[in-house]
């Protein structure tokens, strides 16, 4: 479904992604793990169009994303939940969700998806007229995810959804990610919390200073000595 081939991304002179290749297949949960500054967020931003690769190719369902304007990538079925949520804090919960469906013309479908989001996150329904800047961190994470789902994506990119959340909430968010995936949405998940990420993902890639250094089945990776030492704290 999504294929990256030898992708190089720079921030000015900083070479952030050094020839990255990986793929995500329909229906999977794939996780991208790695320590701070490894290039995880950069990878997601490059897929969603916020950044452009200098060289290399990204294709989605066979289509080269380089030929699509950044703001139209979402209409191809790729939706990103950015690191740190980035909800529109000056707007209500409903307005945020509406903006998630900005490019959609099927009003009935949008309504239906709004109900689906409220089903996944009942808390958002309770708070739907609240200004989202006043939501708690966990609620903002739910809103950011709900907003991303409103575009009805085939592929959902999640950047550190567990960041700053209490353990119980992390569990809840991860079980919702699983539920979203079971509903037919493919997921590419970036996480610091490698333990949780490997527990729900089918496959994983390990990123280190802009390069993929390991990849494979997540159960096998979780069991491997290298990963345990570097990312699972023992």
């Amino acid at each position: 479904m999504l294929v990256l081939e030898d992708v190089n991304v720079y921030y000015g002179a900083i070479h952030a992604l050094k020839g990255i290749s990986f793929e995500v297949n329909q229906g999977e949960i794939v996780t991208l793990i790695g320590s701070n500054g490894a290039g995880k967020s950069t990878s997601l931003k490059t897929i969603s169009g916020l950044l452009r690769p200098k060289t290399g190719k990204i294709t989605f369902n066979g289509e080269n994303l380089a030929s699509i304007a950044p703001q139209l990538i979402v209409s191809k079925g790729i939706s990103q939940v950015p690191e740190g949520r980035h909800v529109f804090a000056n707007m209500t919960v409903i307005e945020n969700l509406e903006l998630g469906a900005y490019l959609r013309k099927d009003k009935a479908g949008v309504k239906q998806d709004m109900q689906r989001v409220y089903g996944l996150f009942p808390r958002l329904l309770e708070r739907n007229t609240q200004i989202s800047g006043t939501l708690s961190g966990g609620e903002q994470q739910m809103l950011a995810m709900g907003r991303a789902l409103m575009s009805k994506p085939q592929l959902l990119l999640l950047d550190e959804p567990s960041m700053g959340l209490a353990p119980i909430l992390v569990k809840q968010i991860f079980s919702i990610i699983k539920e979203i995936n079971e509903g037919g949405t493919t997921v590419l998940l970036v996480e610091q919390n490698a333990h949780m990420a490997l527990s729900i993902a089918n496959r994983a890639y390990v990123l280190e200073t802009g390069k993929i250094v390991l990849s494979g089945d997540s159960k096998q990776l979780a069991a491997s000595e290298e990963i345990r030492k570097a990312y699972l704290g023992g």
Binding site: Q71, P82, H86, V87, N90, M91, L99, G100, Y102
Partner: protein, 297 residues
């Protein structure tokens, strides 16, 4: 005697609101543009001047009546605003703020002195578009022009409010002004939204220009400088980037000016207005409607 003082106070309030509604219309454009690209568009007052000339042209040359002339000026300036943004400001989107600010000053001078070349520096008289009718209500005098002015600006501000709060474009505008990257992820074409913002802001300035021409009867190519500065003050007073702030800031400034003039101190008018600005900013640096939080970079 007592009643004549009350009358005078009310009279100054009426005058102040008329003048203030013009400031408010101009301040809105300042604040909207600042809200979306963090640029103090110093050419904004000059766009108002162009609007005044467009209205003058529509009335005297095209023989249009007030409303069509107003619309003509608004459309002309909306286009002008979009063109200025695309040519002068867009290439500097990622440049330093000071570079953008200097460019804005350049655009301002270009409009002022380009305007002089085109229409000469000579002062022109605005044709009288309204009857000289006056209405007296308990001794307070409403000129026909005052009423039209207040009505026009109120209607425009209500329309703006509805656009920003309830339309898809308006929501996209608020999204872009809050977080451009997140807006892009929603599928919002930020360049189009920025153009749209310039169009609306410039159209409101044009309306203010026509109203000024009607109100003060004369126009010239440098007429935008002082009202532009004052509207900027009004926008800062209300909290720059905040739309209701610009409306209230503009009206307040108009009221202060006319009350100070009414006290017989019209030479002190501007000084008092700026003094109040300074006092407000000392107490509340982010303006009346601003939240006292550090701006995120």
């Amino acid at each position: 005697m007592g009643s004549s003082i009350t009358q005078q106070i009310f009279q100054q309030i009426v005058n102040g609101l008329s003048l203030g509604s013009i400031y408010a219309l101009i301040a809105l454009g300042y604040t909207m543009v600042y809200g979306i690209i963090k640029l103090i568009n110093f050419a904004h007052g000059d766009i108002m001047m162009v609007g005044a000339y467009a209205g003058w042209y529509a009335i005297t040359v095209l023989h249009l009546s007030f409303l069509p002339a107003l619309l003509f000026a608004m459309v002309a300036c909306a286009l002008l605003g979009v063109v200025i943004e695309r040519i002068a400001y867009k290439p500097l989107r990622n440049a330093s703020r000071i570079a953008a600010l200097i460019t804005a000053i350049g655009v301002s001078l270009f409009l002022e002195y380009g305007g002089m070349l085109l229409v000469t520096a000579q002062v022109r008289t605005y044709p009288p578009v309204f009857p000289e009718t006056m209405y007296s209500f308990h001794g307070v005098i409403f000129k026909y022009g005052d009423i039209v002015m207040l009505l026009t600006s109120t209607i425009l501000m209500v329309l703006l409010h509805i656009t920003v709060q309830y339309t898809k474009m308006g929501k996209a505008m608020r999204a872009v002004s809050f977080d451009k990257d997140a807006a892009l992820l929603m599928g919002i074409n930020t360049n189009n939204i920025i153009s749209f913002t310039f169009a609306i802001g410039s159209a409101l300035a044009a309306a203010a220009g026509v109203l000024m021409g009607v109100y003060f009867n004369t126009i010239d190519p440098l007429m935008g400088i002082i009202p532009g500065l004052k509207a900027f003050v009004a926008a800062v007073l209300g909290g720059i980037g905040i739309i209701p702030g610009a409306m209230v800031g503009g009206l307040m400034l108009g009221l202060i000016e006319s009350i100070v003039s009414g006290l017989g101190a019209s030479t002190w008018r501007d000084a008092v207005a700026f003094l109040i600005l300074i006092l407000v900013l000392i107490v509340k640096p982010s303006g009346l409607f601003g939240k006292n939080v550090r701006e995120k970079v």
